[in-house]
Structure formats: C-alpha cells, structure tokens
C-alpha cells in the first residue's frame, strides 16, 4: 500500500496536473473576489472565512475525477482489484494521496491568501486548524463520488453534482469555526463536529467506495 502511495504521489508530481491546478484555482478565487466585492477590508475580512473555505472546496473538486478515472482507463484498476491489496485500502490510499496533493497544499497556502483577504488576526490559527481537519473529509467524500462515476465517459459534471450536497456539512462547520475564531467566540463545538465528520467519513466511506468500484468493474 505504501508502494501505491509512492506511485500516486510520483505520478502527481510528474504529470503536474493535480497539484498546481488546485492551488492556482484557489489563488484565482482569492484574488478575484476583492475585485468583485470591492476593496473595503472590513467587508473582505467578514467574508474571508467563507471565501477561503468555498475556494478550498472548489479547488478540491477540480481534481476529483482524476482519482480513479486514469487508473480505470489504462486498466490499472482491474489489475489492482485482483492484486493482494484490499479494495477498501486502495480507496483509502488514493483518497489520502489526493489529500496530500490538494488538501495539504491548500491548507498551507490558505494563510497567505487570508492576508490578501484581510482575514482578522485571531482567525489564522482556526483557518489552518479547520482546513487541516476538514480537507481530508473533502478528499474521502470526493473519492466516494469518483468511485460512483468511474465507469462514465463524461462523469466530471455529474461528479460535482453528486459531491456538492455531501460537502455541505463540512463546509458549514469549517467556515463556522473560522468565523467564530475571528470574533473571539468559542470554536470547540464546530471544530469537534468537523473532526467527527472527518473521522466518520474516513472510517465508513472507503467501504462504500470499494463497493461502488466493484460494481463498476464488473
């Protein structure tokens, strides 16, 4: 399974795609919003938590269809399904490597973009923390969506439609954590909920995804 992780990361680095694209998209959103909303830093600071979370979510969405589609097209998925790795483990590794190449860089880039959006100072800790805790859920939910649409020729749009409502709870609790942090309120509740959702998706969704992949392969 470590071999699989290393291979996926190596592929992500060599083909570029995933990495750069998600980050660039995140940057574009953070840069464009002030042009649309106006330069008033008070307004920007108020909406920054939401913008950053929505931006991270959309950047994540961008590379989801690559999680399984490439392996499906070149036949690797068939071969991996007959290999001694359990399919659930395969899904977990794939989602984890997706997180390493999108969620983690997004989390690291977010504070810089927070500066651009004049995010209030006390919020930075919560920004990093909520993204760090929340983005793995985005990758695992996304992997579930990708496993449902893996057999489809043009599954990209459908994938977004399927995943969108599933992202709502994560988005709400993630952005709420930062907003409360920015106003100096208690962040324990949303952060705990966010962590609970992430742990839940980590524990359960690989099984649902593996079932979906098995159905798609037959």
């Amino acid at each position: 399974m470590i071999a699989l992780l290393i291979r996926d990361l190596r592929l992500a680095i060599r083909t570029g795609g995933g990495f750069g694209l998600g980050l660039a998209f995140f940057l574009i959103i953070a840069v464009l919003v002030p042009f649309g909303v106006g330069p008033d830093s008070a307004v920007l600071g108020r909406i920054a938590p939401g913008i950053l979370w929505v931006g991270a979510l959309l950047s994540c969405l961008l590379s989801l269809d690559r999680i399984f589609a490439l392996d499906f097209e070149d036949g690797s998925l068939d071969l991996l399904a007959t290999a001694p790795i359990p399919l659930e483990g395969l899904v977990g590794v794939k989602a984890f490597s997706h997180w390493l190449t999108t969620g983690l860089p997004l989390t690291l880039a977010a504070p810089v973009l927070g500066l651009l959006l004049s995010l209030p100072e006390p919020a930075y800790l919560w920004l990093i923390l909520s993204l760090l805790i929340g983005t793995p859920a985005l990758s695992f939910i996304g992997a579930f969506g990708a496993s449902l649409t893996v057999g489809l020729k043009r599954g990209g749009l459908l994938l977004s439609l399927l995943v969108l409502p599933l992202y709502v709870p994560t988005l709400i609790f993630g952005a709420e954590t930062i907003r409360r942090g920015a106003e100096g309120l208690g962040t324990a509740t949303p952060l705990t909920m966010l962590g609970a959702i992430t742990l839940g998706t980590l524990a359960v969704l690989p099984f649902a995804s593996a079932a979906a992949i098995r159905i798609n392969l037959r």
Partner: protein
C-alpha cells in the same frame, strides 16, 4: 404466500394494473375534497390572513418530499439485500416525484414567506435543508440517467441513496447549528397544545392523505413504466444477440 411474491415483476404488473384505477379514483376524490375544503371553506387566520390556505399544499408536499426519500432508502436496501428488480425500479420511479414535491414545497414556502417574512428567500434552516434535499434528488436522478447498464445503475444509485441519507441527516444538524431560523415549528404534532386549530387541521389531514394517495398512484404508474422499459431493453439486447 410470501410477501416477496409481490416483487415478481409479472405479479406486480397484474396486481398494479388491477389496483391502479381504484387508486386513481380515490386520489382524485380525497385530493379534491381536501383542497376544496381547505381553499373555500376554512376561515382566514387572524394573523396570517388568507395565506394560511397555502398550508394545505405546503405541508403535504413537504411531507411527501421527505418520505419519498425514505421510501427510496427502504427500496434501495431491499434491492441490495434481496435483488428484487421491482424494488430498485420503484426507487427510480419515486425520485422525480420527490423532486417535484420538493420544488412545490420550496415554491409555496417562498410565496408564503414573502408576505409573512417580507422576503422571497430566507436562509432559514428548513428552507435550506429542502434546497439540499432537492440537490440530492437531482444527483440521484442524474446518476440513474447516466449509467447504461440497468443493474449497475440500480446498485450505484442504491449506494448513493444510503450514503446520501446519512449526509442529509448530517446536513440537517449542520444547518440548524448554522442558523436558528424563523420558520415556525411543526404544523401538526400529536402534542395538542402546539397543534394548529382543528378548523385547519381536518382539511390539512385530508390533504396529506390525498397527497400520499397521489404519491402511491404515481409510483405505481411510473414503476409499471420502468418495468416495461426494462423489458424493452432486455428484448432489444436479446434480439441483437440472436
């Protein structure tokens, strides 16, 4: 005879064909009684004026929108566990009805909210939850349409339905947390104190029963269509092979 005998497509076709006219007639009767009663023969509310009449479509459609998803969840589980095709096809047949009911709930809610709250759309927890429910229906229907192989489509949509149900409940709590809202509490409950007045309650119950009957009739009708469509597909495939 076991209950599962009804899952035999042939038996289902025969039974539903006999039952459909009765259900159609009963639906027409109950629904027209309920709606006419509600629209023409109930007094205005002292606070909400005549807008209270919207309750006779708003509450039943919302009720169906939620319970249609529950029914899809049950039939999806039945399909996954017992592999009865009729069950999966019934879930497929119910989804567009659920979507339509969600739309009705949202539209009537907006129309009601406009004079009451002074705004067409409010990010109120219930309205927001319904919007999300609508998205779930859309995704579910789109997945059915996108997959060619019927059994694969049935399996995958069932998995989506189950996972979606969990996330729908999660969303509900997340949204409650996010905004406490100005929507009034449940219109009907067994707790007498909170109930709307009897004058409104009787026609409302009639309308709910009417909507349930409408739902059953449409599900029967649409499931019959889905079974036939499935058979057409099978026959074409068999011809191509022969």
């Amino acid at each position: 005879m076991s209950f599962w005998e009804y899952a035999n497509p042939k038996r289902f076709m025969a039974l539903s064909s006999a039952a459909l006219p009765w259900f159609t007639a009963l639906t027409a009767l109950v629904l027209s009684v309920g709606l006419i009663w509600g629209f023409f023969f109930t007094p205005d509310d002292f606070r909400q004026g005549s807008t209270v009449k919207i309750i006779y479509i708003h509450v039943p459609s919302a009720f169906i929108a939620i319970n249609a998803w529950l029914m899809m969840l049950v039939t999806s589980l039945v399909w996954l566990v017992r592999r009865h095709h009729v069950s999966a096809l019934a879930a497929r047949a119910a989804a567009p009805i659920g979507l339509a009911m969600t739309c009705i709930g949202l539209i009537t809610g907006a129309v009601w909210g406009q004079p009451m709250w002074g705004t067409w759309w409010e990010w109120d927890p219930r309205l927001t939850s319904f919007l999300i429910l609508g998205l779930f229906y859309l995704g579910y229907i789109a997945l059915w349409e996108a997959i060619d192989d019927a059994d694969t489509a049935a399996d995958l949509t069932s998995v989506l339905c189950i996972v979606g149900s969990v996330f729908a409940v999660l969303s509900r709590y997340a949204i409650l947390f996010w905004n406490q809202g100005l929507h009034q509490g449940a219109s009907l409950s067994l707790d007498k104190e909170e109930n709307v007045h009897d004058v409104f309650a009787y026609p409302l119950w009639t309308c709910i029963i009417g909507f349930v009957l409408l739902f059953i009739t449409l599900v029967l009708l649409r499931t019959r269509t889905e079974i036939r469509a499935r058979r057409v597909k099978a026959l074409i495939a068999r011809e191509r092979m022969a």
